[in-house]
């Protein structure tokens, strides 16, 4: 009896498996993730690495079969290229106008109004806003082209009201595409802010009301600080989405007239495909990535500071 007892290995203490077994089990937990990881590496990581690589070459879609390494030439060329500078400025205008100012404020405004609205109104406004958001980008682009163009809906309405007609697609194309992007993307901000506002405890706003704070003061001192994190998240997602808008602008103006609505994604397409300079276009894409990263870094800093 005793021998058998002695020969039995010491029972592991509950909750503390032997180290070897624990490591193996931990490794096994990763096992189901391997296919997804492999696929991600292959289909996402691969192209990204390839893109970074060709940004340093003079690869062309047509006109030359040899591709050679040119170092930082593409980037140097970009900084001297006035069309690139023009595209950066327009990208910033487009992003600030349509995302920071437009979608963000309008989304917050709608979310605030919808808290006070009755059920049917809320449903109607909500579904209209979201409808604009769920249509495919290219469809939205054609819709808004049809809205803004010379013989379009907007001019028909202005005509009917005996107001002067507009030709923004031609005279102020960057404003037209910015408005289009506001129309299309406000739903996203509205949803985020609706969720954030629902989190604010009623007692706090009621207490402020009892203390005699008016609507604006309540918004400034109570509501905004309490949803600060959501504002940061929303700005971040919104900016990154807006920076990469291509289809909407392409369908409405193709970056024209001239290059007055040629934001970076459109410029990139123009250089890489229409001018066949794939290497240069890819380098511009990397620079766009950097601009996105800069915005993201700023928002992350803003998010870190506690109230």
């Amino acid at each position: 009896m005793t021998t058998t007892l002695a020969s039995r290995p010491p029972a592991p203490k509950p909750g503390r498996p032997a180290t070897g077994g624990r490591q193996r089990r931990r490794a096994l937990r990763w096992l189901p993730l391997t296919p997804a990881t492999a696929l991600l590496l292959l289909f996402l990581g691969g192209p990204i690495v390839y893109c970074v690589a060709i940004a340093f070459t003079d690869m062309q879609l047509t006109g030359s079969s040899s591709t050679s390494f040119v170092g930082l030439d593409n980037f140097r060329h970009a900084f001297q290229d006035e069309h690139f500078r023009n595209a950066v400025v327009l990208t910033l205008v487009f992003t600030v106008l349509s995302s920071l100012v437009g979608q963000n404020t309008l989304g917050l405004g709608l979310a605030l109004l919808m808290r006070r609205a009755s059920g049917p109104v809320r449903t109607l406004v909500g579904s209209l806003t979201i409808a604009a958001w769920v249509v495919p980008e290219i469809v939205a682009g054609f819709l808004l082209y049809a809205f803004f163009r010379d013989e379009g809906t907007l001019n028909a309405v202005l005509d009917w009201a005996h107001l002067p007609s507009q030709d923004w697609l031609y005279s102020a194309p960057i404003i037209a595409v910015s408005l289009a992007n506001v129309w299309r993307g406000t739903a996203f901000s509205m949803l985020i802010y609706s969720a954030a506002l629902a989190e604010i405890p009623r007692e706090i706003t009621e207490a402020a009301e009892v203390d005699g704070a008016g609507g604006w003061r309540r918004l400034w001192h109570i509501t905004l600080p309490m949803i600060r994190r959501s504002i940061g998240t929303n700005l971040m997602l919104n900016t990154l989405q807006t920076l990469s808008v291509f289809g909407l602008i392409w369908a409405m103006t193709r970056g024209g007239p001239g290059n007055r609505s040629q934001t970076l994604p459109v410029f990139m397409y123009d250089q890489a495909f229409l001018k066949a300079l794939i290497g240069y276009g890819t380098a511009v894409a990397l620079l766009l990535l950097l601009i996105g990263a800069l915005f993201a870094a700023v928002y992350l800093r803003l998010l870190r500071t506690e109230v």
Partner: protein
């Protein structure tokens, strides 16, 4: 390891392996030929689809077991090149026969996208029937031929006699200089409100249509070798003709003699002119191609029986009427075989079928092409096919060809930008010409002849 672990591992690897190889060889069936072509953006214009279906049936009857797959790309021209070039980059996606413009052929040859056809042409009896000039159009810098020409074209002024009569202008109109052309347009503007006096393509949107029909028709009327100097083997910068051609456009669009600039730079404007503006008498003069009749005949996208009586043609004059007095540009399309196609021999058989004498005649009729084969030009059906065919064929004597060099598409793109700047903004012709010179410098690495305006 627990007994289940090897199982999980095996399953994982299997899933990974199948998903990675799952995207392997599709679309490379040895018995199917893929032929890719440009489909007009107007859904009613389908004469090429109809013609190719006929040839497909004929080919499949003659080669039992073989199939032809038609791949239309419905797009504006600039987007068509992009799509086809991307397809030709890989053996998995490449078509076997491509509808290829002579404008892009040298550029694509330099990229290694196309296969030389000399081996096949040597044994093809019909090749001798092609006119020497046409044979040269598809010959690259290396002296080899990369495409079989389907036809050629010339360009001139189309004008509506009814509108001219209404405005009290002669219906046998023939302007002798740019000034005469402009003054006619001014008269039309005064007397026919609501009608666009003159359409000249411009801007980046219409692509090569702007550059060739619009700009080069002007530029080549300003003097000798205004774009590329063959003796020096260099592109021309700082030419006075370049600025003058831009000034002409500036005048047309600045004085409201053309369409509204926002319509003019629309990529679909060439189709609109053919299927809407001309047939509906909304434009009086159009600087356009010899093929316009293709839209108005019975098989066209916008049948218009009265067109042959209603429209007149006049040669495009040189700038001041200097000798030879007329100017035209010629291009044309070819059938080519991509380098990565796995079935070049079968693809060649399809090209032969496409270019057999009866089919070549049929295509010339349907597409209003100017024949490039002696036996097509002599065909009775061809000679009586299209009103104005003698007029446009006669322009071949005064015609110019674009510099057939690999960088031409990029030069063309720079010209389109200069046109768009002058048309849609306050940029002066001189400033736009300077921008073009800078762009040309970077395209050619500074290898230019400066004529010093």
């Amino acid at each position: 390891m627990r007994p289940t672990a090897p199982l999980i591992l095996a399953a994982t690897l299997a899933v990974a392996a199948t998903s990675l190889t799952g995207c392997g060889a599709f679309g490379t069936d040895p018995n199917t030929l893929k032929i890719v072509y440009l489909r007009n953006t107007d859904n009613k214009v389908r004469h090429m689809d109809a013609y190719l279906s006929r040839v497909k049936d004929e080919f499949e009857r003659a080669h039992p077991g073989k199939k032809v797959k038609l791949i239309p790309i419905q797009a504006a021209q600039p987007d068509y090149w992009v799509k086809v070039q991307q397809m030709m980059r890989s053996a998995k996606t490449t078509p076997d026969v491509v509808y290829e413009d002579t404008f892009i052929i040298n550029s694509d040859v330099a990229s290694g996208y196309l296969r030389p056809l000399d081996r096949y042409l040597e044994r093809w009896r019909d090749w001798d029937r092609f006119l020497p000039r046409a044979r040269a159009a598809a010959r690259a810098e290396d002296g080899r031929t990369y495409g079989v020409p389907m036809g050629t074209d010339t360009r001139a002024l189309w004008f509506n006699k009814k509108l001219f009569a209404k405005a009290g202008l002669p219906t046998d109109w023939q302007p002798r200089s740019w000034d005469e052309l402009l003054s006619t347009a001014r008269t039309l503007k005064k007397r026919l409100p609501g009608v666009i006096p003159l359409n000249v393509y411009t801007g980046k949107g219409p692509g090569e249509a702007s550059v060739m029909q619009g700009f080069e028709m002007l530029l080549y009327g300003t003097g000798a070798d205004p774009l590329y100097d063959p003796k020096a083997g260099r592109w021309v910068a700082g030419g006075q003709g370049f600025e003058d051609a831009l000034t002409f456009l500036d005048t047309v669009y600045g004085e409201g003699l053309g369409p509204h600039p926002s319509d003019a730079v629309d990529p679909n404007v060439p189709t609109r002119v053919a299927t809407e503006l001309l047939p509906e008498r909304k434009v009086a003069i159009a600087l356009d191609g010899s093929w316009m009749g293709q839209f108005w005949i019975k098989t066209g996208g916008r049948p218009w029986p009265a067109w042959s009586k209603e429209l007149g043609q006049a040669p495009m004059p040189t700038q001041y009427g200097q000798s030879p007095g007329k100017v035209s540009m010629s291009g044309g399309w070819t059938w080519a075989i991509p380098a990565k196609s796995q079935k070049p021999d079968l693809a060649w058989k399809l090209v032969e079928t496409l270019q057999s004498q009866p089919n070549a005649v049929e295509w010339s009729l349907r597409d209003a092409q100017i024949a490039v084969r002696a036996d097509v030009a002599a065909d009775r059906r061809y000679r009586t096919s299209m009103p104005g065919i003698e007029f446009f064929t006669g322009l071949v004597r005064h015609t110019h060809y674009r510099p057939a060099l690999p960088v031409y598409p990029r030069v063309s793109s720079a010209i389109g930008e200069a046109m768009e700047a002058v048309t849609t903004s306050d940029t002066s012709p001189a400033a736009a010409a300077r921008d073009y010179d800078d762009e040309l410098d970077s395209i050619t690495d500074g290898k230019v002849v400066n004529r010093g305006r």
